[in-house]
Amino acid sequence: MAALTPISRKPMSLVLPTIAAAGGFLGIFVGASNGSTLMGLVIGAVVVAALGLFFIGVLKNEQLSKWISIVLVAVAGFVLGGIPGFILGAIFGWFFHWFTYWLYEGRYRARLLPYLTPGQVLWHYSFLVICGAIFVFLITPILVVMPLSFNAQDFFTFTPEMLRFDPEGYSLKHYRDFFTNNEWQRSFKNSLLIAPIATVISVSLGTLAAIGLSQSHVPGRRAIMAILISPMIVPLIISATGMFFFYSDIGNWLEGTLGLPKTFVGYVKVVLAHAVLGIPFVIITVTATLVGFDRSLTRAAANMGANPVTTFFRVQMPLILPGVISGGLFAFITSFDEVVVVLFIGSASQKTLPWQMFTGLREQISPTILAVATILVVISIALLTTVELLRRRSERLRGMSPS
């Protein structure tokens, strides 16, 4: 983007305190991990301010000072924390140099509108920093899990070998454990069996309910809607307790009177319970898409001789499909992530992945859980990417530009 505002050099009275504050802030973390937080703060502020003064006041060569900054801080990092410290130090060094010149040359002003007050400029960058911080807080817990899942030890700990990037410290054994351990495999298969079936049931029933409830002539629509959505509002532990007794009776009847085998009945109970939990999501998303649905289309279809079923599948369904699919995704995730209800209703042969992770975390803090988490994250990303690519493709085929 081209510069909007002409830039000019800023006085040192603005640059120095700001970079010293940034240096002090990072110094807190370095200091905390080396014994003294206060020392870190002071040293960080002084070192960064001194470097800035030296670069701008004495050296006056941006390229040269960049490399000096990177090498100096990287060496300091190496002394304090080995190879990881070296890499972090190099990044910090680059950052300080960039930050110093960014402030000193007034580059931060270049891309903003010329009439902004200093307060607005400050807010603009604070806003960016806040957004970045939120992003970091959301993503870091997930990112931390990934390297730990390659731990050669059975603990949730970054071992010294791992920090030295020693291949000895890493291993695939937790992944091997997941793929060879019967309990993990059983629970993985159960999840892959229960979640899709529960999703199909919730999507069919939820879509029907949403269409029915969107008709203006249905009596007591709001009351019915509230009841159907209640599983989402009632605390899960309460639904689960009620479901436990309700489905126990149904299960006893299915086993006793109809003579169905125990394992099969167990699956039926869990699938039905998860379907109930998924239905509200489908109803809400489909109702939302139905708001934008033009009713005259169904009348036009009827006018041309289509019966209601044909109308539904050929006219209405394709138009509300995005709502149905996102409802289905929510229903799938609800079942796939669910641990409370399945703990109550399922028996061990219906053990799902979240259940296994839950007990695994409580009884044995095993990094296999982290390996599974990593696999699930990768699968989720792959799934979402596929869905997005398919959506773009279908829009392209329909002659719309991807949005």
Binding site: Q153, T157, G251
Partner: protein, 362 residues
């Protein structure tokens, strides 16, 4: 009519294959403990009988779940592994089957009856003892200087061993250790603890280290905290410490002084059909014989409950080290042992739990 026929046809089709694949659900504690049972009991049993065994790691909430299942008339568990005190509670409430130990369990190879072989470890009519374990302390060998802790009272000595320690979040054991280190003789501990002043005294002793305590609820927490170096020492089950030391090579040492013995074993929940109860009994007969109990000690350092199993305890299955020195019952480790009093705690647990929780919240 037609739908009834269809239902019957469907159920017949579903029942037919399931008749071949028999399953039973065995409930245990999970982790390396369940693994040792899997290798020592479940796999040989499946090989012998063809019955598939499903593990449910729910022993921690066994009492509550068995109550709920019983109320709902839908008991899905066949055999349950519980600690002795839970077995006594379940037995008192009629939620576990009472057993005639000599009739349903194997005799020792030399013909000694089961009741004699298990001796006084049969603490309840419903309970089949399996292992003797202990709650004891592990410490970081690299964080205690040249003099590793050798007495339980070192846990309360913040000057000699500064740093955090992890203790189980319950009054049991902690109160006894606190009183013992406050100068109460071992045989008087429960007499003192029975008085309100005694409880105050125990809590006051715990108060001296309260700020340095990390409270744990799951057995896996202390090994993790020790591996991270977040605590200097911590209590947990001795088998967990063994696996952290011997199998994971962590710099951890054992402090066996005043280790607290406890029992763990099997119960059969009440309310099973005759067929399932019969199957559960057959499993128990197999899994608690002399050889099987000794086999389990190959995988985890818990002492077998039968006297006749002790001489058969051999080497660790994969490490090849002798298991006997790692057993809580080994004479070298059992020099000063705390025998935890079930009866006393059964009577006083609720009261002390409340006081302990109130103290924690202070």
């Amino acid at each position: 009519m037609k739908s009834k026929v269809t239902a019957l046809a469907i159920s017949a089709a579903l029942v037919a294959p399931s008749a071949f694949a028999q399953e039973m659900t065995i409930v245990s504690w999970g982790g390396s403990y369940s693994k040792s049972q899997q290798l020592a009991y479940h796999e040989p049993y499946t090989a012998k009988t063809g019955i598939t065994i499903i593990n449910d790691d729910s022993s921690a909430e066994a009492v509550a779940k068995i109550r709920a299942m019983n109320e709902a008339g839908n008991v899905t568990w066949d055999v349950v592994d519980v600690v002795a005190s839970d077995a006594m509670r379940l037995c008192d409430e009629g939620l576990a089957e009472e057993l005639d130990h000599d009739a349903v369990l194997a005799a020792a190879p030399d013909g000694t009856s089961a009741t004699e072989d298990f001796g006084d470890l049969i603490v309840s009519d419903c309970f089949v003892p399996q292992i003797v374990y202990s709650t004891t302390f592990g410490y970081r060998t690299d964080m205690v200087g040249d003099t590793p802790p050798s007495s339980i009272c070192d846990v309360f000595d913040l000057e000699k061993y500064p740093g955090k320690r992890s203790l189980q979040k319950r009054p049991i054991d902690n109160m006894e250790w606190a009183l013992y280190c406050d100068g109460v003789a071992k045989e008087d501990i429960y007499d003192v603890l029975g008085t309100p002043e005694g409880v105050e005294r125990g809590l006051a002793k715990l108060d001296t280290i309260k700020d340095s305590v990390v409270w744990w609820t799951a057995g896996a927490e202390t090994p993790q905290l020790l591996a991270d170096g977040e605590v200097v020492m911590g209590s947990t089950f001795n088998g967990r410490l063994f696996s952290a030391i011997a199998e994971q090579g962590q710099p951890i040492g054992m402090l066996w002084d005043m280790q607290s013995f406890d029992l763990d074993g099997w119960i059969i929940p009440a309310g099973l059909s005759d067929e399932r109860k019969q199957r559960a009994l057959e499993y128990l007969f197999f899994a608690t014989d002399t050889q099987r109990l000794a086999d389990q000690a190959k995988y985890i350092s818990y002492g077998p409950a039968r006297k006749s199993s002790a001489p058969l305890v051999g080497k660790h299955a994969s490490l090849g080290i002798d298991m006997a020195p790692h057993m809580p019952t080994d004479p070298a480790n059992a020099g000063n042992v705390h025998i935890y009093d079930y009866e006393w705690w059964a009577d006083n647990r609720d009261d002390l739990d409340a006081k302990f929780q109130a103290w924690l919240a202070k």
